[in-house]
Amino acid sequence: MGVSLQYAWLIPTLPFLAFVLITLTPVRRNHRASAWLATGLMIVASILALAVLFETAQGVRIAANGSVELVALESPAGENIGAERFQAPEANIVQTFRWAPAGDSIITMGYLIDPVVALLLAMVTVASSCIHLFSIGYMADDPRRARFFSFIALFSAAMLLMLMASNLILLFIAWELMGLCSYLLIGFWFDRGYADPQQITPRAAAIKAFITTRIGDVLLMIGLCYLWFKAGSLDLGIQAGQVFDSEFLRRIGQEAGPFGLTTATAIALLLFCGTIGKSAQVPLHIWLPDAMEGPTPVSALIHAATMVAAGVFLVIRTYPIFVASQALPIVAAIGAFTALFAALIAVGQFDIKRILAYSTISQLGFMVAALGIGGWTVALFHLLTHAFFKALLFLGAGSVIHGMEATIGHDPNRAQDIRNMGGLRRFMPTTFLTYMVGYLSLVGIVPFAGFWSKDEILAESLLTGNFLVLIVLLLASLLTAFYMTRQILLVFYGPFRSAALVHGETSPEHGHAGSEPHESPATMTIPLILLALFATGAGLLNLPGIHWLSSFLGQPVHAFNPIAAGLGTLVALIGIGLGIAYYRRAFTTENERDPLDMQIPGVFAWLNGRFFVDQLYAASIGRLTLALEVFSSTIDRIIDRVVIGFDRLTTFLGRVNYIVDDTLLNDGADQIVRGATIGGNGASRLETGKAQDYLAIVFAGMLVLGVVSLYLLGR
C-alpha cells in the first residue's frame, strides 16, 4: 500500500539513467542496444506510473509523517461550472528535501503526486513508450540513432520531472530542459539542406523553436520572480508560506500591481506567456509547424502529446492564481482565437505533417480556451485524449511517410506532400485503420475519445454563458472536420498519384525508391494499434453517468448536455460533408490544383501562406533587430576609431620621445664624449715623454709666475 507512491521518484530517473548510459558509456556505439535500453527503461517507468495511478485511484494518501490512509474519491455535489467553484485536488504524497538556503527561507526540492499528476504521468509514460518502440522501426536506417534515443529519453525524463515537481523552480528547470531537448531533436538532422533558400532547414527550425519559446520563457521567469517576491517561496501547496495559501491569494487578488492590473493578474499573465510560447498559441505559434523538420516520432512525442501540453499543465498547476486574478478572459480569448486561426491555416496546407501541426495548435487553443472559461477539468480531459489521438495521428503519418519513401525516395518535400499520395489504404491497411480511429477521435464522433472531451468543452462554454467562445470553437470544429476529411481523402482514397514512379516510368530522386508503398514493420504498427485503443477508450474516463475523472480529481460533475453534444456532432458532420464534396474527385490528374484553390484562390493563397505571420515578424521585429544590430555596430565602430586614435596619439608621442631621447640626449652625450676625447687627446700631446719639453714648460710657467708676482701682485 503506497509503495509505488514512495518510489515514484524512479519514474523520471529511469529515462534519465537511459540518457546517461547512452551518452556517457560505450553503449552508444551499439545502436540496437541503445534503442532497446531506452525503450525498456521507459516501459518499466510506465509500469511504475500505472501503479502510481492505480494507487492514487484507490485514494492512497501518504502524509508528511509517513502515515498511509485511504481516502474515498468522490465528487462533491453541485455543478462544476465556472472558475468560482474551483477546488484544488489534494496531494497524495509530497516528498521534499532541503536544497539551498535563500534569505531567511530554504528552497526545497522534491516531488508531489496528486490525481492530476498521476494521470499525466501515466499518459506521458505510455505515450513515450509507444513512441520509443515506434522509433526503433522508423529510425532503423539512421546512422545516428543512438543519439536520438538518448535525447528522447532525456526529454521524457524532463517532462516527467516537470509533472512531479513540488516546486515551481524545479518545474521551470525541467521546463527549460524540455526546451533544450526540443531544440536538439528538431535539429536532429542538422546536416540536411534544401535547394530552395526560402525553405527552413532543421538547424534553422531548431533555433527558431528555441528562440520563440525563449520569449515566453523569459516572461515566465519574470512571473516566477514576481511571484516569489510576493509569496516568499515557490513551493506548491496550500499551507502558509506556500504559493496557494488562501490568505496570500486573497491579498494578491486585491493588491494593485503594475500597469493598473492587480498583482494576481500580472503574475497570471506573465505565467501565461510561458504557456503561449510552449503551447504554441498565437502570437508565438510560429515555431511548431517548422518543428516538423524533425523526425516524425519527435513530432508525435514532443509536439503533440507532451511538451506542448506542458503549457496547459502549467496553467492547471497554478490555477488558484488564475482564479484569483482577472486574467482568465484574456486566456480564453487567446485560446479561442488560436483555435480558429490555426484551423484556417490547416485547410491550406499540403504537407501531411504540417496539417497535423496546425491541428495541434488548434486543439491546444481549445484547451486553453477551456481553461479560460473556468473548466480546468475539461481542459485536462481534452489534454489526455488529445495526447493519445494526436500521437496516433503523427505516428500514422510517420508510417505513411515511411511507406512513401519506398516509392519516392528520401526527399522529404516529396515524400510528405499529400498531392503525391492517394489510395494508400490498399497498401497500408493497418496504418489506415488506426489513422481513421485517430481521425474520428479528433473530429469528435461518438463513441471515440475526442467526442467526449470536445463535447465537455463546448458544454462548459455554453453553460458559463461564453457564447462568443462557443461560436468560435464550433467554427474551429467545423474546420477541423473539413481539413481532416480533406487529408484522409487525399492520402488514403482515390488513385495512387505516384504510381508512375512505381513502374519505373519516371525516375525517383534518392534512395531505394521505385517500389510500391508497403505496410510498416511490427515495431511501428503495434504502437499504432495500442494508441488507437487508447484513443477509443480514453473517452471512458469521463463518461456521463460514471464521471470517473471528475470524482478522481475530486471535482463536482457535469451533467451531460445534449445541446452541446448535438451542436458539436452537427458541425463535425457538416465539415465532413463539405470535405467529401470538395475532395472526393480532387487531384485525379497530375497537375490539378486544390479545389478550394480553384474556387477562392485569394483566400486559399492566404491560408497556404499561413497568413504570412512569419513574413510579418521578419519585416517588423526582424527589421527592428537588424536596425539594432546596425546601431550597435556603428557604436562599435566609433569606439574602434577612438581606440585607434589613442593608438596613433601614443605612437606619435613615442616617436617624439624617441627623437628627443635620441637626438638630444644620445647625440648630446656623444658630442660631450667626443669633446672630452679631443680635449684629452689634445692634452695628452703635452706628454711627449721628452724631458726637454717638460723643462720648457717649467721655464714658461716660471716666466709667467715671475711676471705676475713682480708686476701684477707687487703693486
Partner: protein
Amino acid sequence: MTSIVSAVPLSWVLIVAGALFCIGLFGALTRRNIVGMLLGIELMLNAVNINLVAFWRYLEPQLVAGQVFALFVVVVAAAEAAVGLAMAISIYRSRNTVNADEVGLLRG
C-alpha cells in the same frame, strides 16, 4: 790698482751671467744628446753662481754667506752632474742610445 768693483759696473756682470744662463737654457732645451742637456744644466748652474758671487762682491763683500752659498751651489752641481751621468750611462746600457728623443717612455 783699482778694484774690479769700480772698474766694471754690476750690471755688466749680471748681463754676462744672464746671457750665460740663457745659453745654458737654450742648450738644455734643444740638445738631443743627454750629455749635452747636462752640459746646458751645468752652464745654467754656473751662471747662477756668477750671479751670486757678483751680488756678494758688489753689495756685501764682508759677509761670508755669499761665498758659502756659491760653494753650496757648486757642490750641488757636482752631485747632480754625477747622478745625471750615471743615469745617462744607465740609459745607454739599456737602450743603446743617448738620444733624448728616443727615451720618451713617458709619452702619453
